[in-house]
Structures are given as C-alpha cells and as structure tokens.
Subunit: 378 residues, 2 copies
Amino acid sequence: MDGEKFTSVGLRTLITPEGELLLTLEEESIGDISPDEVVIRVEASSMNPTDIGLLLGPADLAEMAAISHNGRPGLRAPIPPEHMSSLELRSRIGKSLPVGTEGAGTVVGAGENAVDLIGKTVSTMSGGMYAGFRRVNAGACTVLPTGTSAKDGASMYVNPLTALSMIETMRREGHEALVHTAAASNLGQMLNRICINDGIPLVNVVRSEEQIKTLRSIGAKYIVNSSAQTFFQDLKAAITATGATLAFDAVAGGSMADTILRAMEDALGASQTAFSRYGTAILKQVYIYGSLNPEPTVLTRTYGSSWMVGRYLVLNALQKFGEETTLSLKNRIVRELSTTFASSYKGTLSLNDVVNPDFAKEYTKKSTGSKFLVHPSL
Amino acid sequence: MDGEKFTSVGLRTLITPEGELLLTLEEESIGDISPDEVVIRVEASSMNPTDIGLLLGPADLAEMAAISHNGRPGLRAPIPPEHMSSLELRSRIGKSLPVGTEGAGTVVGAGENAVDLIGKTVSTMSGGMYAGFRRVNAGACTVLPTGTSAKDGASMYVNPLTALSMIETMRREGHEALVHTAAASNLGQMLNRICINDGIPLVNVVRSEEQIKTLRSIGAKYIVNSSAQTFFQDLKAAITATGATLAFDAVAGGSMADTILRAMEDALGASQTAFSRYGTAILKQVYIYGSLNPEPTVLTRTYGSSWMVGRYLVLNALQKFGEETTLSLKNRIVRELSTTFASSYKGTLSLNDVVNPDFAKEYTKKSTGSKFLVHPSL
C-alpha cells in the first residue's frame, strides 16, 4: 500500500564531526506500507530519561541556541570536547537519528493483513515516536481497551516494563526483597504499587522529606532519606528488616551503589555467627539502570567476597526472559493501566516546544515529578 | 586417639580493640584425634596474598616493631584508625586467628579409619597451616604422588584451583577468551600454561618489559604493557584478536577494570554495523579477585548496556561448580603438579622469620616473583 499520502514531520537529532548537536524537524514521507504494517497518527509520546539523553544528553545545556532549519524551528548546542571521545558519541557522528521510544495514537492506515486495526487507539515501543505519523509492524502494537486515551497509553512500556522486569529479575536471581533509589519517580511509584500488590518488601531511597510524603501517601513502608545524617544506619535497618540483597540504582554516579553494598554486608554480617574473613557468601547485587549522577561510580570493595555491580537495561532483561514472559508482563500492564501503571505529567509539549531552548531547560531537569508528554500532531 | 603428644607452635594474628595488630607464636596441643582425622607435620606452606592480607593487610607497615611474647618472638603494628571502621576488622577484634591457607607435610598420627595415611606426604587447604602440626580430616588431604616433596605440594590449591576455576567460569558463563591482569605472577604463569595446553586465547596485562619477557619465554602470545603510552590501543587490539569478553583483575583499585571494559566495548562496537545507542548487548564481565591497588575501583560506565563488575573468590566459585567438578580440577592438579602447576619461591621462612619485621617488609612487597614458602617445623 502506498504511504505517500502520510507526510510526517519528525524530530531528528544529529551530532556533527565538529562537535555540535542539532535538533531539527524534518518533513518526510512515511514510505510504502507492507501488508503487516500500520500507520499511527501519534497523539502522545512520553519523555523518558532515555529520550532526553538521546535529545540533549551530551550537550552543554548552558549554550543551547534556537536555529531555523528549512523554515522550521530547531536547536543547536555544543558538545564539550571531553564528551566527544566516548564511543557512543563517536558512533553517532553524522547519523540523523529519530527520537521517542514509546507512544500512542490512532491507526489511520494499514496494509492488507492489518486493516482491522484502522481507527483503533494503539500504543507501541517501536522508537521514532516524536513524529506526526509512524509506520510500524502491527505485531508491535498493543490495542488499548475501549475508553483509554492515547495519553493513557503513552507511557505503558518503558516504566511499567522496567518496574515489572525488576521484580521478575529479583525472582529469577533468587532474591526476596529489593532496594530502589530515586524511589519517588514515576517508575518508583509504580514499583511501590506492584510490591504492595504482590507482597514484596521494598526499600525506597529518596532525597527529601517531600518525597517521603509522596511515597508514604501511596502506602510505602520502608523509606530512607539519603540526605539525612542517619542515612547509612537507616538504610541498614531497612535492609535488615526486609532481607534485601538486590538493588536497582538510578543515581549511578558517586557512592550510592557502594553505600548500598556496605549496608547489605553489614546487615548480613550482623546475623552471621562465625567469623569469616571473606565476609558473607550471599550474593549482593546492584543494578545501575539510570545515570542521575553522571560522575563515575566509586566502589570501595569493603563488602566481602560476594558482590556484583552491573548495568541494567530493560531490553536486555526482556530478551533474557523470552517472549512468553514478556507478553505476560505486557498483558498485566494493559489490565492495570489506569491503576498500578498510571502516569502523571507536568505538561504537554509540541515538537516545536521540544526544540525550543526554554522548554529544553525545563524538560532536562532531573527532578522527580517533572515528566513531560509530547504531542507530535499538535 | 589422644593427640596430646603433638604439641605444636602455631602463628596467630589478633586485632585488639585499641587498634593494634599482634602476630604471636602460641604453643598448643593439637587435641583429640577423631577416627577420620590425621595429624600432619607441616613442612611447607605457601604465602599467598590472602595469607599476607590476614597477617598484616590492615597494618601500618612503617610502624612494625618486634616484641617478645611468652618467650618467643612476635610482632606488633598499629592499624590506621580509618581502617578500623571496616566490617571485616571490627568482626576480627579480640579473635586470635590461625593463618596459612594451604600446605603439605608428613602424616605422623591418625585416627583408626585413616591409619593407612601414616608416613604419607599429603597436602591440604584446611587453613591454620602456619603451625608445626595440624589436625585435619583425612578427606581434606590429597596424597602426593611418590617422589613429590612437601615443597612441591605447598601451593597446589590456591593458585592452581584459582587458575582452573577461571577457565571453568569462562566456559560456564559463555565466554571464549579472557583477559588477566598482574599476569606475570605465579598464578598468571599457570594460567598461561593451562591456556596454551587447552587452546584458549588469553590476553596478559603486565606492567614492565621484564614481565613481558617472562611470559614470552613460557609461550604467551598476547601480552600488553599497562605502563606503555599505547596501552589502551594495544589492549583493544589484543581483545579484538581474541574476542575476550571476560577479565580477571588482581589490580582492583583505580581504573583497570574500567579500561578493560572500555577496550572490550570499543572492540565489540567496531565489529557492529548498525548504530545502537545502548552499545553492544554482549555481556562484558570483569571479576576482581585481588587488591594490588587498595584504592577504590572507579567505573565511568561508558561501555554500553551490558557489563558487570564483581568480586571473585575461588571458594565461592567451587561451591557453585559442585563437588564433582571440584574433584576433577584437583585430579588435574595432581597429574600436572610438576609441569603446569609448578611454583617457584624467593625463599623459605621459619615461623620466627614470619613475625620478624625485617622479613615482613620483604614478604609484604606486592611484586611479581617474590612468593615465599613457610616451613613451620624449622
């Protein structure tokens, strides 16, 4: 089927060999539609940290400037030279990349095997969702239940699947409780709702009294404030009470992972009667899944003989789980979309807004409760 | 059986609540011999880094002083106050601990079920081997082949089992080649001999031209000098040539693990055609098994979405493998004791020497080729 009639404006990010990052809006045909494909008019796409990272992660935000590109607004910002040596950036040079991991909208075109989807509201995690129209495989779409808006389905993959995959990982790797940092985030609140439902002990690490209130109001039991003088002792007490030997850490830089491992080993050691110079043999695992603090991770290695720190990516985790488990997680998300997996947003941006330096200053702030929605058809 | 006739002098290490470390020689009966036990007259015990760590690891070596204790020589040294907060040290306070992970000697006494071992030369990894006599379970002893001396069997567990367990771990965790740091050590030379025998690509990281020569002379193919200006490029080239995605790192502190992970990701990324902002999905694993550099480990997290850094302890690894695999590794060690698993020593120390500050300065030097043997019956 001919997709020429769907001419779409989409957001692109590009790094030049000179070390400049460009965000532009490009007009393009969505191309031919294969029998198994559909065309979605994108009506809501979320701004996850991973998207913001792709948009502006390496740029010097203080130097952002508005530009005009083919008669549309755009943005340019320099990349500090020391960042340009990273493998990720070097491999991106000269490649114009689409943005927008997940989103939802109305099916407005379809190949012959997918015509029954026309008119339906669907969501997908196919990437490139910061665009007016998006051609994707029908099999990659989830049809939203009647009465569910595109906005409701804009965030139904990244955060919900991440939260559920953490619990699945916990079970598969033999842990019985977990620690979560930056725990008042959208994701953190979902994780609390899952853990309360499923009876899983969860230690929430936050950095303010206000965040403690937020979590307390949704029923969280163990909340520890990393800004408090008593942080280490509070954390150890909560780990002792829960038996947590697994942590998911979005802070990443500095000593957070180290502090968690020390608290776990202290908690485990206190219940161990015989002296062992190698410490406890129980595996203590920290998975780093974000990078709120971009500084290096510092490990003092003072927590015995059995610990591991690694990067966690939900896509890799799902691949390990396999298709059947992934589908069952997705089905749970659809069932609990308006309860466990509800998201809230600070505001809605058009594509013009996303490339506006003033809005960019807002959405790049790494603070809890500041998640934005993008409406590419606005 | 009555073991009273075996009065033994053994070395003990003790940390006082005031933060002083004491090495003393204590006279004690080895106690009653159960039917399944034997008494070994210890004639050779090796000084592994783990033993030296237990002897003097936390102490301020510049402040070591000779003492006299019950008419025998001893040693005391202060522990810097900042070390005393570690969980390991706090849990050691007031506990007089024996030292000497592994060793060999002649069986001079036995319970009724083990009398056939009397007169045999055996080796064991039962701990507490820095003592004239040691009572152990017969099942924990390996009878050395005829013509093998106690000295030959003094190091047959810690290094050989560690080297073999690294290869076993490599196979079980799906890697096909490996990187090893501090690679000219006794352990590193064994690992080269195993890898050459078994056809496993091994990247050796050393820090001097002399160490390169040592490894070259035993047939090592990939050797990289971390002191060279071209270290990173050399390492990347060797990793590209071998496909190594697993490393065992004895350096531990500073940026070694980070550098290895960056080189692995660079090597993997170069062979990847499509751009992925998450980097490669292939797991890159660094196991830290020593602590030649006691500084914290610093991780920049610039190596994609799939990496892990953790502590490696041979005892934990063997437990994971199970008894059957462990036994087959031990059998291989006995078969190849004078070839693959031969150790060389800088000298032999008596127990009096071990607690002598002048000798202590020597054996605590963390340099390749300076391994000492202890002869507790001297």
